[in-house]
Symmetry: C2
Subunit: 736 residues, 2 copies
């Protein structure tokens, strides 16, 4: 016989050894599910997972379906009955309360007990003889009593015996004079009938020889009772309730995949990042900043309401081919080089650049940051300068050219001779992987729990899946942010493979249509299960054209958009709050005098700093849970393309924020908005209040259509808290 | 260390033993694919399978992707290079030319050779020194020569040697005076450099110690030649062409699933069914028809253009609880009973009802039918009358009740005491499965290759998957039609599990919106990969209300809809062609005096028979390949809800049929249609002809808007062949 056509059919063709052909349920289209269960979905502690599945069996009987879930390391599953949604779709939810990995799957089965009760009811209603049906029930309950324990087992046994007594009535209809010689069922089953009860012809040992009760030969049954009492018992909710606790699942079908959820701490979903170069934190100009200087900067950063302080690489910087100011090919004497040119005589990824300080200084910074409610995030840039110790310690980790030199980074015809990429195709790839994991573990030991990963898309996807999987199985609180500005499918794949957060295209999405389309895709489609956006208006690599030309209104608009569209966002400061907007040359998005290549001294106290506004925006985020999550985003219509309006809400609609932004940095724009009451959680017939949390202005609105007008020179955005107006009979109006 | 969170991550965490971490390609979202590869897609011989996948690798290098396919029983895969569609999506096609099962999957890899050539070109264009790059090319070509055979291997070796000679030029730029002492590469690789070529640091034995060529110590190289000749060689299309034949796939990623295609003969897609009761085929009224009578009916059926003659069960009919005329609970003496009440003293599923004839008669019928271009399809109704031999031979195949009786079929409070369902939860399920397979094999031995399966949704899904899989692996030409009128997901699941064709909801889809929605779902969504609709305007079980009340126009309209919407359709005759439309009672869809319970004598020659019209419609189907497939269906707009217009076309648009039906059986309806030129394969600026194949009328149309008017009392439909008008300079207009 030739091979069967599908994997499943092949399994079935070996049915003698592998498959129990009596499993009748089919389970399909389980959601959420990424790529057929290949990758886990993501949640944070306290979230619920709503699981749905198509499930059904052949025939017309009743059917039951349950969700199974467990912490990945627990041996036992927890059951949750699923509720039917119609059209053979079922739903149940479970809550994830601990960090780490959960698994879930589905089990479904033809429910013989429910079918029996259901059919019995119809027959009784049609006044049919149900004697045999009660006997069948007695068998079902007797079997059930063997699955039950304690009191329930006793109860079921007793009920079984009562139903079995129905055998002695002849009509199967209410009999006012039950015969005194009626006999019940007992554990000792009668021999010789050769009958196989249809619900339990099972190979489960304790049931193996189960036979239905029959008349004769059985002792010790209960006293006879009226037939209609037995029918009432059989149809009772009490019996159904007890039965539902001991379903017969020995022929249940289990979904062929175990799906996984990775559960992070809340900061994986909601975080507010501030990036700075420690070497630029010296109080006085001209001095190389240190980690101690950086520590002094903590109150400033904390006062703006950030909770993550992200530092570019803090390792020794190579001398060979070191880049000069503004990315000059040759560094001038004293040029500090790029922090991403990692590795020098003083060490590599395990070391701290001597001019920044010591490992003790770093641990102190981490600890002080913690006092200010800040976590220090480090940069994982897995590449080396030609001076990195690994070049001599592990030459096999690099690509060697036929001329005996190591291959430097290039994007022909551009050459980056200050950078040696690691060779992930090395025969020594295992040692390389382990070596890189040691780096992560080293910094975890120093107290770091958040890593921003530099260019992860230039290293193999399965390396990240392995690394993040290994780290998080021991340190489930670690967060990885993927800095991959690359093609969409690569970005999604990194997120699927384990990155907790991802940089996005936000920086280049400026028009209303672009923003609405992109954030709808991120928050409504499959991406929402695993891709957590982290929005950056600027980075040391990106000074967008919009910021270059839009002046202060552009900075505020982009800040508000990032902070309200994304539960996680970040800025690179102090360049951002000081609205630094000079590019290195026209048409480029590189900063002039970029901190990547030189030390800057920033006038933090400048009167026009956005410091206070940023603090306000971040306080709004902290006080409004709707802004701490990415679901519940809804774009509202405005009849002016320069005005974007969207709301975010908590699932219960108790917190609703409506943000309205004028993306034209030059002119006042106005228009009529048409707001969805459903998204805003409002009663369409009542007044409601919108309270601008940026300016404290309050407006009373009514109906879906309202006018907005925004002068960018004042504030280019509203962040409205939407408040329902609630009436009581004996009170003034007040606002919820 | 705790368990990793996904199955894949778990595999990776055991990377030492299982996974090669150097595989850099990712392959996702392969289509077509049913439920993550759980079920095969379906095609017929000669079809193509268009396969697409997302595929990419980390980094910026070139990338290659190929489709692999094979007959399931072949050991070796056939490669088809995939073409990029943009956004990291790739496509390739393969043709399925044999019956049976094919498998396909995807392989992808970082293409080091293409990357090298690509980068080299950019460097040459930027006038950079490329000496080392040519050396790297020499290594790549030397390795490639080991993968190649014969002449190609020699050529590659020679090219490698020429490029290796570039080492002796110092500038790396065109050198008009190449040094005569230049030396090339040979199979004897130099020792001592310790270099690892980046593209092939591989553990493949023959490459294990491969080292790049270096200067010195190598004998027998080619003569030195100008540097620009070497560059020209390196960048040549010829070299790229040869290289593309020997890609380095040792680090290729293979998609983690093998997907399957079940390939049927064309009749699985395109078939025209006629159902009749053999016992009603006697020439003279009152006599029980025989298989010989049925044979005499063959010319009549064939003349109408059918190719499948489907017979309800032909087995002995039980006596116990036999149903009388019009489903009476008690049969009168002489009532023949329902053919679905299978099994009597004379035998069960292996026997022929004695009044119909013998097994020889049956084989003769099959053979004669063949002469008329007809295949005989049998009914597989896996259920038994109480008189079936299995009841005594295999009592364990039935459900026994506590009172020692066998459970009859019921839908409480209804009882079907003439039918014993089989117990698929029997402990003897394996024997039952085998027993049922024997039935199928027995009739296959009698020449049957098409089975219509009665109520498959009341038997376990995995039983069908097993049965059909086993049968088709030995008899890939067998076709199974699922008669499951049940909930949508059960119907799809049966089709996924192997049924070649499926009954549909067509019978109850009467309005324009219902029809357009339903057939769009069937032909445009995922269903198109595995669900082949077979449309029946009537069956012995279903006389729809539309037919009851619409008279002859309703019969014609439903015939035309079925025959042009479905590549497969069927009618139950002669009830259909004689427009039998009396229900057993008002509000029911059962026929009065149904042939299920009694013998009928049909006046085939009645003047108003639809026989000729059916013949015409079936000839139109035979002559127009667009109607022999279900893809290419497009609904066109008509501004009258009683008029439905849709076209079907072959993929090349050479055959296009536009059907327009007035579904109002009572009144003339007219309206303006707006026809899609794209769907019709027309040039919007030219006249075109629509030729009504039902009436032979021809109309010249121009532009998308055209008027249609249909009087249902004449013919309620047009079946237009759409003909492009083609001009030549020296000819009259004519029609393609």
């Amino acid at each position: 016989m030739a091979t069967a056509c599908s994997v499943a059919a092949e399994a079935l063709s070996r049915h003698g050894s592998v498959v129990d052909g009596r499993r009748r349920a089919v389970i399909e289209h389980v959601t959420p599910q990424i790529d057929g269960g290949r990758y886990p979905i993501k949640r944070v502690v306290g979230d619920v997972v709503v699981v749905e599945a198509d499930a059904f069996a052949d025939g017309h009987g009743d059917f039951a379906c349950c969700l199974l879930f467990r912490k990945a390391d627990d041996a036992t599953w927890i059951d949750v009955p699923m509720a039917p949604l119609g059209n053979d779709r079922w739903r149940a939810v479970f809550e994830v309360n601990e960090l780490g990995c959960y698994r879930y799957t589905i089990q479904a089965w033809a429910d013989h007990f429910a079918t029996w009760q259901h059919d019995l009811r119809k027959k009784v209603e049609a006044d049919q003889n149900v004697t045999v049906e009660l006997q069948t029930g007695a068998v079902l309950l007797a079997e059930m009593s063997q699955r039950a324990t304690g009191e329930a087992a006793m109860t079921l046994k007793a009920w079984s015996a009562r139903l079995a007594a129905a055998l002695t009535t002849t009509s199967g209809r209410p009999d006012p004079n039950p015969r005194p010689e009626a006999e019940g069922v007992s554990d000792t089953l009668p021999e010789g009938t050769g009958l196989t009860p249809h619900s339990c012809a099972l190979p489960v040992p304790k049931h193996e020889n189960a036979r239905p009760p029959a008349s004769g030969g059985v002792q010790g049954g209960p006293s006879p009772e009226p037939f209609n009492a037995l029918v009432a018992l059989a149809l009772s909710d009490e019996l159904a309730e007890v039965a539902s606790q001991f379903p017969d699942r020995h022929l249940a079908t289990t979904y062929d995949r175990e799906l996984a959820v990775i559960v992070d701490r809340e900061r994986a979903r909601y975080s507010t990042w501030y990036e700075l170069f420690p070497r630029s934190t010296a109080r006085e100009p001209g001095r190389h900043g240190t980690l101690q200087d950086c520590e002094e900067r903590l109150p400033y950063v904390a006062a703006m309401g950030f909770d993550v302080l992200y530092l570019p690489p803090i390792h020794p910087i190579g001398q060979a081919f070191r880049k000069g100011r503004n990315n000059a090919t040759d560094a001038a004497p004293g040029d500090p080089g790029s922090p991403w040119g990692i590795g020098a005589a003083e060490g590599g990824h395990f070391a701290i650049h001597p001019e920044l300080g010591t490992l003790d200084d770093f641990r102190h910074l981490v600890s002080r940051a913690h006092d200010f409610g800040l976590e220090v995030a480090l940069d994982l840039a897995f590449q080396c300068s030609p001076d990195h110790p690994w070049v001599t310690e592990h030459p096999e980790w690099f690509v060697w050219r036929p001329d005996g030199t190591i291959q430097y980074a290039e994007n022909p015809p551009k050459k980056y001779q200050d950078i040696y990429p690691l060779n992930f195709e090395s025969a020594q790839w295992r040692q390389l992987w382990d070596g890189l994991m040691e780096v992560v573990l080293f910094w975890i030991e120093q107290g770091v729990r958040i890593f921003r990963v530099d260019n992860p898309h230039t290293k193999p996807f399965q390396f990240w899946e392995w690394l993040i999987g290994e780290i998080k199985s021991d340190y489930p609180d670690v967060i990885f942010l993927a800095e991959a500005f690359t093609r969409p499918k690569l970005m999604s794949s990194l997120a699927k493979g384990g990155f907790s957060q991802s940089y996005t295209y936000f920086t280049w999405r400026n028009t209303k249509t672009e923003i609405a389309e992109y954030f709808t895709e991120l928050t409504q489609g499959e991406l929402k299960e695993y891709f957590r956006p982290n929005l950056w208006p600027n980075t040391p690599d990106i000074l967008s054209e919009y910021l270059q030309f839009g002046g202060r209104p552009a900075f505020i608009a982009r800040l508000v958009l990032a902070a309200t569209l994304g539960a996680s966002y970040g800025i690179y400061g102090p360049a951002f709050e000081l609205a630094e907007n000079q590019p290195v040359s026209s048409g480029r998005e590189e900063y002039l005098d970029s901190e990547k290549y030189q030390i800057r001294h920033w006038p933090l106290d400048r009167a026009d700093s956005l410091q206070a506004l940023i603090a306000r925006v971040n306080r709004i985020r902290r006080e409004n849970p709707a802004l701490q999550r990415d679901d519940g985003l809804h774009f509202h219509q405005v009849d002016n393309d320069q005005i974007i309006a969207y709301s975010k809400s908590t699932p219960d609609r108790r917190n609703v924020i409506l943000t309205v932004v004028n993306v034209d940095p030059d002119y006042t724009q106005s228009g009529w908005g048409e707001f969805s009451f459903d998204a805003l959680g409002l009663d369409p017939h009542q007044l409601y209040q919108v309270h601008d949390l940026l300016t404290d202005a309050r407006y009373l609105w009514h109906g879906p259509k309202n006018h907005v007008e925004i002068n960018p020179r004042v504030v280019p955005a509203h962040i409205f808290r939407v408040r329902r107006r609630i009436r009581t009979e004996r009170d003034f109006d007040y606002y919820s």
